[in-house]
């Protein structure tokens, strides 16, 4: 072969190489060019021309036209789109055509994001999603093909080495948990640190050696999260104090064999006291200023002249004009938080003295008496509405806070070839009595007359047990998830828990059943059912039942909530 042809053939072969396999970039062939130069097959100049040709070809590809900042060493773009049909039913509403608590909705959720690796230690990323609520990015298809807004759901940067990391901003939830405590959609905001304690203890010195192939791991995860932003110039201690959530969690795991592993992750979550407002989560809890029914009175005072005409048996008519009479009418209107009203009217009459005039006349129908009245003056006054029966005293101070211990965990194993796990969660609110008695202030039955329903230990405890068989990773995979939970009304934060089970309400118990099948590597179809009913029946009043003020929280507003969802989820 003519030696002049060799570089051209090689250049062609190398240049075609990346075209045949688009995942290989032109630069990857640089090592091959170097090797050819070292072997004397190409001169340095020929090698350089080959490189330039490859680079030029690569620059014409889609990937070659993307100009990334030189600080980015890896960029991952990802997203998912979920279409959902949802039916939910809330009792005690009866099944009838006007039942507003039965809904069928078609919804979607879109999320797109980018994660960039910035060298060995740094990273940054963001995510955009179709909903504003922290616990749901769903949008409901409605109203003449309206368009929807897009929101920032993650924006963060982080630093890490081989045993620690710090991430700041709005980020993916790093805590080991279940949806009993944290909704999967929530991306907490703040600063979160992780320390792989097992790597620290495994170090032999300041050098780099760590113990390999250990069966146990122990990680510490701590978070300082921004929970509520208040105006520091507002009046009132809680109104000008920001709310924070501090979380400390130890995640320990031990692997008994390749297929069997246990994980236990106790955590302590502390919310600082602050005025809570503007939460958008499903059945969120936030403070409101006015609670209970309002009562207003309207007093009308009228001066009336009354004329009586009496005809006796003989046809003699007597006309009598009564002296002016003062009539006072008091109308008391009670307006309930749900908009219903009740009206009570009381009337009193003051007639001073005897009739002042008597006139005798003849005519008219015998044995008949007629009376006519004419108002000659009237005045009305109305009162300012005042809290009525069931209104609650204002809350303040530490009773707004929560102090929750959790202990989720799982045992993973295989059933045949199927990855499976039994899992659980437990939560106990150390400040449960304060949250229940001082904040929620619930009653049983009639809010006007019943005495308060006092806290019991069950109100401060939540627990969940579940079993998962299979997992969806690739086409043909399937999974079944079943769990049962009980969540006392004062046991967890109603602003963090799952928005699907009982529509985010507390004071509930019930089942979740979820079947999933992966029809393609990018597509999962899923059917989910949630059946929930009350732990304590007939709670009323207070700040948690939504029976007193429709603008207030509804975290315990139903006796039963059933939800059915069918999802088609595409990942890209």
């Amino acid at each position: 072969m003519n030696s002049n042809w060799a570089p051209k053939i090689l250049a062609t072969a190398i240049a075609v190489f990346p075209i045949l396999n688009s995942s290989i970039q032109a630069q990857d062939a640089g090592a091959l060019v170097d090797k050819l130069i070292k072997k004397g097959i190409l001169t340095d100049q020929e090698g350089e021309e080959v490189r330039a040709d490859m680079m030029r070809d690569f620059s014409q590809t889609s990937a070659g036209k993307v100009n990334l900042n030189s600080s980015i060493t890896e960029l991952k773009l990802s997203g998912d789109l979920r279409l959902r049909y949802q039916y939910d039913n809330r009792q005690p509403q009866v099944d009838n055509p006007t039942n507003l608590d039965q809904r069928s909705t078609f919804r979607y959720r879109l999320r797109i994001g980018a994660d960039a690796t910035l060298g060995a230690n740094w990273s940054a990323g963001f995510q955009l999603q179709s909903g504003q609520n922290a616990d749901s990015a769903n949008q409901t298809f409605s109203n003449g093909f309206d368009n929807d807004a897009i929101f920032i759901s993650r924006a963060f940067f982080g630093w890490k080495n081989d045993w620690a990391s710090v991430t700041a901003g709005k980020q993916k939830n790093p805590f080991y948990t279940t949806d009993m405590v944290w909704d999967n959609d929530i991306n907490p905001s703040g600063v979160i640190e992780t320390i792989a304690l097992h790597k620290l203890w495994g170090r032999r010195s300041a050098g780099e050696e760590v113990i390999q192939n250990s069966n146990w791991e122990l990680n510490l995860i701590t978070g300082q999260l921004w929970y509520q932003n208040n105006n520091e110039f507002a009046a009132g201690a809680d109104f000008n104090t920001d709310g924070f959530l501090f979380v400390e969690q130890l995640v320990g795991s031990y692997r008994f064999s390749n297929d069997v592993k246990i994980t236990i992750a106790p955590a302590w979550m502390t919310w600082t006291a602050a005025h809570l407002t503007n939460f958008r989560n499903e059945n969120a809890y936030a403070d409101v200023v006015i609670y209970g029914p309002t009562v207003s009175t309207k007093t009308t005072t009228s001066v009336v002249n009354t004329t009586e005409e009496t005809v006796n048996a003989t046809g003699t008519k007597t006309t009598r004009i009564v002296t002016p009479t003062t009539v006072t009418s008091v109308v008391t209107t009670t307006t309930n938080p749900d908009g219903s009203t009740s009206v009570n009217t009381q009337q009193s009459t003051v007639r001073p003295g005897s009739p002042i005039t008597t006139i005798l006349a003849v005519g008219g129908t015998p044995n008949q008496k007629t009376t006519s009245a004419k108002t000659i003056a009237s005045a009305t006054s109305a009162s300012v509405p005042i809290p009525g029966p069931g209104a609650l005293p204002a809350v303040s101070g530490e009773s707004r806070g929560l102090n929750i211990l959790t202990a989720p965990g799982d045992v993973s194993f295989k059933i045949g070839s199927l990855k499976s796990k039994a899992y659980w969660d437990f939560a106990y609110n150390l400040d449960g009595p304060g949250r229940y008695n001082d904040i929620y202030q619930l009653k049983t039955g009639n809010i006007a007359t019943d005495s308060p329903h006092r806290y019991t230990t069950e109100d401060g405890i939540a627990w969940l047990v579940g079993l998962q068989v299979g997992e969806t990773k690739k086409a043909g995979d399937w999974s079944v998830i079943f769990n049962y939970r009980r969540t006392g009304i004062a046991s967890i934060d109603p602003n963090l828990n799952d928005s699907d089970f009982a529509m985010g309400e507390l004071n509930v118990q019930g089942f979740t059943l979820r079947l999933a099948y992966q029809v393609a590597d990018a597509c999962v179809m899923q059917l989910s059912g949630y059946m929930a009913w009350n732990l304590v029946d007939n709670l009323s009043g207070g700040r948690a039942t939504n029976r007193l003020n429709p603008t207030n929280a509804g975290i315990a507003q139903d006796n039963a909530v059933n939800v059915l969802q069918f999802d088609v989820n595409i990942k890209f």
Partner: protein
Amino acid sequence: MTRSSLFHLTGFLLALAPLAQAGPLIIKGSDTLGAKLVPQLAEAYKQKSPDTHFEIAAEGSTTGIAALIDNTAQIGMSSRRAKPTEMSAASAKGITLRPTIVAFDAMSIIVNQANGLTGLTKKQVEQIFTGDVTDWSAVGGKPGKISVYTRNTSSGTYSDWKELAMKKRDYAPGSQKMAGHEQIAAEVAQNPNGIGYVGLAYLKVKGIKVLPVDGIFPSAATVKNKSFPYSRPTFFYTNGEPSGAAKEFVAFTLSPAGQAIVSQVGFVNVQ
């Protein structure tokens, strides 16, 4: 247009052609090449072709390739290869970036003359320049905080060094960025704890010492046999095959006379 007027217009354009050629040869880009080598090549070339005027601006490889793409230079000096995005930008403007290797260089590790070290490994070089190691005692030297000197970010050497010596990692947070090789050499000569990298042409500065890497010193021989780990080609980029004065100057640079100057300045010739 009549045949006679077409004839006159053609004659006029032909008459303008020499005027267009008479403009300066504009060369922009790498400080590595533009600080010493190219000015000396230009001086020698002017002795052969006195009518040629040069405009040389040495402000970093990035500026040279950008100038070629913007058609504000005939030759872009570069101590690094063009990036895919630069290739793409050039193609969009109908420019074909063609590299011509004019010399080889070796980015040499220099320390202060007083530094007692006798050599470093590639791993130690990476650790020092990324900040993994911040004290000389960690690499066998006398205790003292290491002062790292690097080129600035528009320099091709800056990015080349990350690729050749640092596995593309970031420079140490406290590294000091210098405008040119001469400044790096001068700073290291002044600072007993200093370390930096410079091209072969800048090793004769007083007060500095060259350290071998994995036992290999930078030299023409180790560059040519590719045993020195931090050697690299340096380029003249042109728009396709060079033409006119640029073609003549590139040819002169690659000629024995030009390559002799390359060697004199301290680079390794391509012959």
